[in-house]
């Protein structure tokens, strides 16, 4: 539970209100999200849990402004966040640029972009690997680079879409620890999508459980509450997820 802060700001960093999001049109369309509404407060690390196909990635894409084909609104505390970072499900590094160039690229225009990028690569444990191309790096190194790029950008909001998926448990655990350390140092408002209950229990200050498609909030759990904290967190989340599934099947 290392990521949990004792004092959380109650100011909303951004609010999401997606009335309707569908893929396709006409009879073949699929309703992905219907009436999904939640707030994320400043400094929170909110995990989104839900089954596959529950619209978690779609929600992140809408918040990031990558998908504007929906009914509803995403409102940021400032009219628009100055800096939003997104750690995608795949590391998404430009394979024709070295690791340091990948981290420095979003910082273009800053005189010390390379120095900042180098510092962040060192912070994620990649000193000595700056000049490697992504194809020469392991998946774990690529994910560390992706994390470094996100933090180096100096985001006010950080979106993460299952960033530790496809890693073996040991590497995933190490990266989670690294992420927690970075997050504690930077305190960036974070929305973290996962379908790993243990990961959500370990990282989050608050967990949103999405029901299966069309997505809506099935449960909003403050991990700091007594019954959902400590060793109970994972158990508590699993039962919330089961309840959401059961409710969806019933409906």
């Amino acid at each position: 539970m290392a990521a949990r802060g004792k004092q959380m700001a109650s100011v909303s960093a951004f609010s999401v209100n997606i009335l309707r999001k569908a893929y396709g049109s006409g009879e073949g369309s699929r309703l992905a999200i219907a009436g999904l509404s939640f707030d994320v407060r400043e400094g929170e690390l909110v995990c989104v849990l839900g089954p596959s196909g529950a619209g978690k990635t779609t929600t992140l894409n809408i918040i990031a402004g990558l998908d504007s084909n929906f009914e509803g609104k995403v409102a940021f505390r400032d009219a628009r966040p100055q800096r939003l970072s997104y750690v995608f499900q795949d590391p998404r590094l430009l394979p024709w640029r070295t690791l340091i160039e990948n981290v420095a690229l979003p910082l273009k225009g800053k005189a010390d972009a390379s120095a900042i990028a180098a510092t962040w690569l060192d912070r994620v444990g990649l000193s000595g690997c700056h000049q490697l191309y992504p194809g020469q790096a392991s998946v774990g190194m690529q994910r560390r680079t992706s994390l470094a790029r996100a933090f180096a950008f100096g985001p006010t909001v950080l979106l993460m879409d299952e960033p530790f998926v496809s890693l073996d448990e040991k590497a995933a655990r190490e990266l989670r620890s690294l992420f927690i350390a970075l997050w504690k140092a930077e305190r960036v408002t974070t929305l973290f999508v996962t379908h790993n209950v243990a990961e959500a229990a370990e990282l989050a200050t608050r967990v949103l459980v999405f029901s299966a498609s069309p997505a809506r909030i099935a449960a909003d759990i403050d991990i700091r509450r007594e019954e959902a904290s400590g060793d109970n967190a994972e158990l508590f989340l699993r039962s919330a997820l089961d309840a959401a599934d059961a409710s969806h099947s019933h409906s």
């Binding site: 402004g65 795949d90 998404r92 430009l94 979003p106 912070r123 444990g125 000193s127 392991s138 190194m141």
Partner: protein, 278 residues
């Protein structure tokens, strides 16, 4: 500030270290020299077959490689060959650059916009199927027998081809990298240079290499039809005189120059553009 004293677990150290990458790079260069050697041996074999065929034919219309070689030396010494080859190369370079720049811009625009693609696709098919000779004749008729008409005619013949190749490449651009560029707010120039152009590099290489091969042949036709200098003009003169040795001397020299450009300009550029794949 390092968060971990041991930055990477043994599982994460990755399959390839710097030294490994360096070794791979050197191995790649060795392979290149090997390919060059095989090409040289193959060319020598061709010259041998030519010499044998000329010896069997015993005709002044089928000179052997030695006679052609002597003619090349003589034409070079007189300054004619370097001058005519130089003039033709200038035309090749100008029309090649024009065709690649304009064709790439058209192909990129059509690849990015489905509406533009829908509207101009039939134009592209029309120009792709317009015979080169017609374009050349029309350009000479409209603009006169001059350099501008010649270069325009050659470029017009190549532009549709470049446009089609670059359009295919643009349509294959990864939307995932576009999302990345949007999230991290890359400007249009950064997006073009860092995200799009590297993905298009193989398509540019294909357009460039096929373009060079086609452009110089069309330039020769243009020179033969309506200009008073260049390799094409010289070939026409030798044709009038039934001077086959002269024709082969100029043809061989020009092919050699194009071969050198292909080997020492196009291929190294392609290798440099694909260095990250090694």
């Amino acid at each position: 500030m390092a968060l971990f004293s041991s930055p990477l677990s043994s599982e994460e150290e990755g399959p390839v270290a710097k030294a490994g990458a360096h070794r791979q790079f050197n191995a790649g260069r060795l392979r290149d020299w090997g390919r060059l050697l095989v090409s040289a041996v193959s060319l020598l074999a061709f010259v041998a077959v030519w010499a044998l065929a000329a010896w069997i034919a015993q005709s002044r219309h089928f000179p052997d490689p030695l006679a052609v070689g002597e003619r090349i030396v003589a034409e070079t010494a007189s300054g004619q060959l370097p001058f005519q080859v130089g003039v033709t190369l200038e035309r090749v370079a100008a029309s090649f650059v024009l065709a690649v720049v304009i064709g790439s811009a058209i192909g990129f625009a059509m690849g990015r916009s489905s509406r533009l693609n829908l509207f101009f696709d039939s134009w592209l098919i029309l120009f792709l199927n317009l015979p080169a000779l017609i374009v050349i004749i029309l350009c000479f008729l409209w603009f006169g027998l001059n350099e501008a008409a010649a270069i325009t005619a050659v470029a017009l013949n190549k532009i549709p081809n470049v446009a089609v190749i670059i359009r295919e490449g643009t349509q294959a651009l990864s939307p995932a990298y576009d999302d990345l560029a949007s999230v991290y707010r890359f400007g249009w120039w950064t997006r073009l240079r860092q995200v799009h152009l590297p993905q298009l590099a193989p398509y540019f290489a294909a357009a460039g290499r096929s373009g060079l091969a086609i452009v110089w042949k069309i330039v020769l036709v243009v020179e033969l039809l309506g200009l008073s200098s260049g390799v094409g003009f010289q070939l026409n003169t030798f044709f009038q005189l039934f001077d086959v040795t002269g024709i082969l001397a100029y043809a061989a020299s020009f092919i050699a120059v194009i071969f050198l450009i292909e080997t020492f300009v196009m291929r190294p550029w392609q290798l440099a553009a694909n260095r990250w794949r090694q």
